[in-house]
Amino acid sequence: MVLCFLIHTVCPVSALSAGEIRILYARVFGPETGDGCDFTPEQRRLVQKEKLHVVARQVRSAVALSREASGSLCTEAVLGEEAVALGEADRGVFSLGNAELFPDRSVVLWLGVQSLAFTLVCRPHENLLLAEGALRDIARHCLEELRLLGPGAEVLLKSDRVDTLLHRLLPHGQLLFLNHRFASSLDKEMASYVSK
């Protein structure tokens, strides 16, 4: 089970002050267990948002450290070069340990594409190979359909596209074993959604 999916900035971008990050899209697959039983809905929401920020910040450091170590230069792919950008994406994984953010030892899987990262938080025991494939697939769709490599703000205004994407590829946080035929019939559904 995936606990949440995020799209957020990871490197210093001109529109933000250094060290600041923005979560551009977040989807939490509730309900969360553990804490929160005594909270009001408002408090729960606040705690959740803060948790997502903690995850995003940790991913930012992980991406920065990994890029620094590998000495990889950030090539600027532009609109239409989604495949190139995805091919050069950095990837990584870390465990949240016993931090009380999410249930025990949840695992954070990230894919860094230029100044953005796509992040999945998975429960322990999750099939990480499958999750990695799903993350890559979702990221590809997002890059293409939200024109993330361009300067526009589709990711904020067309977030329903990400919702439908997740609705099919990651329904309620369930990772799916999709062969190419299952995937292409879901792709078709999504394409028809976008075209409408």
């Binding site: 809905p41 990837r91 703000a153 205004l157 309620h172 190419h180 409408k196």
Partner: protein, 812 residues
Amino acid sequence: MYAAATESLIKQAREIKEEELQRFCGRIFKLLHTKDVSGETVDSLQRLHLIVSATKYARELPSDLVLKLQTVLRSSSCPEQLLVLSSSIIRESVPPSVHSLCSDLSQDSRTFSYVASVVLSQAGNKEDVIPLCHHLLKSLESRLSDGLISKHALPILSKMTTAYPEILTDDQVNLVSRKLVDWLRYASMQQGASMSSGGFFSGPRTRQPAPLMEVDGVVTGDFFTVLCVGQSYTEDQWMNMYSFSMIKSWLLTYDTDGTTNTESDDRSEVDSSVMSMVSATSSSSRLLSPKERLREKAFEYCQRLIEQSDRKALKRMDTELQKACIIESVSIIDIICGEDPSYVYRAFPCIKALYGRLNGDFAYARALLPIAQFYLNHSETAAVDSEAVFCQLFSHCPTEQFNDPMLAFEFVQFCLLNSSVLQDRVANYRQSFPNLLKFLAWNSSGLIAEFVELLPSLVAPDTAIELLHTIIDLPCLAATLDLQQRSACYQASDRTTWDQQGAKVAASLDAFRQLSYRGFFLYILRPEAGTGDTIDRLKLLHELLADMAESPRVVQCAQVVPVLLHVYFNTVTQKADEKLMNQLLLVLLERSSLLYNIKTFNAEVQKVFSTHLQALCKLHPPLIVDQSREILEFAGSPANIYSKEDFYTHVVWVIGEFLSVSYDPRCTVELITSFFESLEAVLFEITQVRQSASPPSYSPRLITVLMTTLAKLATRSQDLIPRASLFLSKMRVFARSGPVMACYSEEDTEEIITRAHELINLLKLPNVAQFVLAPSAGGDGPRWHRDTNASLPQAMRAVSGLLHRHSSFLPT
């Protein structure tokens, strides 16, 4: 990618005024009441979603709008985009809509999933999702419901049961188990009629059902699995895919009570939809309970997937899926065998064959981990030899694939999860630390948290010293792995490229390729322990790698070494015998000046050494006498002050503290005298004041520690007291000399003078001095401070009396 326009949009959304929002909501309310969905409606809803989701604090929406959105969400006729937008807006806003949505759950399978997404994300406790759960189970229960079941019934169920396992009663668990069996094992064997939803040509092109294919294009001969390919799929084939996707988590949640059945387990499989208490008492033992039956079918499914994954897939996506299926199948079989050991015998031939197939193929390295887990859990039950599996796993994976972050993570997690079993049962495990540490050397920042936990399990008495050297030289390993990769990378292309690209590290790269240095690098890259604790001429290796010292990967690696060293020492001192402690002390002395020269690495490591030198000596004070020759040599050399003052200061301190007959009867007067003379000579040398001399380059702390240590040693061999006092009396001259005054602050010089005075006065009363300068070991305990008859309070009184009488040496 993230432009100023995007940022300003977020700002606007966050800063929108309440009344403006209300007006905006009012407009949306009106738009939603018009018959057809305009672009403006969609656009406004998209903006509203941004507004409600952009802030940390929830926005409250007008209740009439929320109600309207709820109606939209439940309406089966409305376009999907509106459903999506309504559900995402309701999810983000307050007040929560859980209860009103649950009170009237829609029968429409299309909208159900969107309603569920709101309920699940706003639920605060189990009670909130119970109506949803009941609704879902009801739809599963009705036999004619296949068309009515929401496609996402299983993901929703899976989400609910992982969050609240106790939400299902045993009967309900059985019900779902039965459905899962049906979907997993008895899905249609024909392709679905290609009626893509709303496809333009759907009507006329509906074809006769065609057989399904395997991923390699061969017609499928057995039951349907996720590795069967067809132009389109029937509903039960979709459910088959959803079932397999959730089966592992289902088994982990509900298959934990073994084969013994609870009372409510019904064994009736004749009529799977009737709960019959009569059949529960049926004498027929051949009938399996739903749980057992699910286990059986899941097992068969996994076996079939493993077979199917041997086929050469035509599409790359399917090749990847095959890998994921192998991993999933093996872990499911592992879970099933854990619950019912009778499966172990059936599983082993299949797993063994799989292992034989994958072993050696790096593309499948990650699949080896669940296989290893299976061997670890079940090889004893089946009396199967697993040594070769682990031997292979620990020797090959890290060597070849240390740079794959995912494999590294999973590998280390595997070790962590099984560390105690691996320690006990797998001989290679501890031996393979040089290999395991490759993961850390390459990806230090990502794996340090794991290694902090893992390291204690790698510490074994016979390899402890080698492990210590390996940790200290971890940055060398990082540098060497980097060189290895560069070398392989540039080998293919011509030499000029690597000359250019590797310009900064050219010398190291050259060294790496020279045969004469091969031995060094082979040692650093060795796969397992046992070839010797470390190598001679380590200094030369450090020099060869000097070019690499600034490489970010090496620097990152150097940053984790101190952390790891702390963990190492804290662990090893708990298990170390006397011999090992002696060895450790020697390594500390030796390695304090034999470190890879990276920015602050030396200072950091020496700081750790200092801490653990103290701890070691405190734990086992006779070490000082055992290693007196080496310690004397170290402390007697002023050169050590200039290169590692902090560590040197600690060595001097432990001499003063632990070189005492009360710790070790071998502590003779001669021994104390020789230490005294050595330190006296050092102090003399460094405090020689000549006008031409450069100012002292060591801290005043070193001076006071040396003075105190001399005084301590003098109290233990009282013939030395006059010498010590004489020497101490000269300290005022030193402290007041020109170069010293120029270099130290007034406070520092004052401190030196005061300390010298105190010590001189103390030494006038040797018995008290002995007491003050070497408090007995129990000084830490509370009794020594509370009990007035204990010696510490007495000593305190003596000292304070002394201070009052000679108040002249109180600091002014």
